[in-house]
Symmetry: C2
Subunit: 118 residues, 2 copies
Amino acid sequence: MLISEVSEKYGLTQDTLRYYERVGLIPTVPRKPNGIRDYDDYSCGWVEFIHCMRNSGIPVEVLVEYVHLYQQGSKTKEARIGLLKEELKSLDERIENLQATRKRLAYKIEHYNDFDKA
Amino acid sequence: MLISEVSEKYGLTQDTLRYYERVGLIPTVPRKPNGIRDYDDYSCGWVEFIHCMRNSGIPVEVLVEYVHLYQQGSKTKEARIGLLKEELKSLDERIENLQATRKRLAYKIEHYNDFDKA
DNA sequence: ACTTGACTTGAAGTTAAGACAAGGTGATAC
DNA sequence: GTATCACCTTGTCTTAACTTCAAGTCAAGT
């Protein structure tokens, strides 16, 4: 699969895909003899996963670390799970935070005439 | 109230408070005769509100616009409500997105042994 | 009088996460 | 056989949202 197709498929620009690979967010993508990227299912799986995680705001740095651990093999499994659990926790916090703000905002809209103030 | 106290109270650095005022995220804070900021309840209210909104990721630019409208007086009320509704909507979207990712992440952790793949 | 510490302003620096540009290669289209 | 693509790499630029810096003022303590 060409980079243009992967770009299309996941809604990431080609630049972003190359960037992800460069910084180690995605394991090296296989090349054709002439050096052109040829994404296989494995690479696409990574793209899809990373895309999702990035979308939810997990920092590049953290994901780079995850990929790095992954590449060390099965001995890092616990570390990887630990990392994911951390992120899950911080995701939960963010969700709660957003929900609180959401509530406040909805209330403010609802009662906008009552105050003239923040 | 001094900037140091406001900083303490809301957990924003003094620099951030000055920055917020400079870019118009908060209406101008009153000064003592010697030029030192003297936050009153009105200013504090804004700080608190803006802090909360920023925390939830609403862009500075949008909030600046809101404050700007606010300062035009009551004729902009509808516009302000509209703006808030927009943000509420985008907040909802983000929350849903995060919840989906949260679910995926939780599942991945739960079944980590089943895959060796993303 | 002098240092200390909190404050002021305006400008320049930082960081994360890409976006963009320049220059180059190789396969296909005419 | 040359023009045009789609791709490559390397390196610089951009944007948001602060943060830090430089240079100075002012009030209080010793």
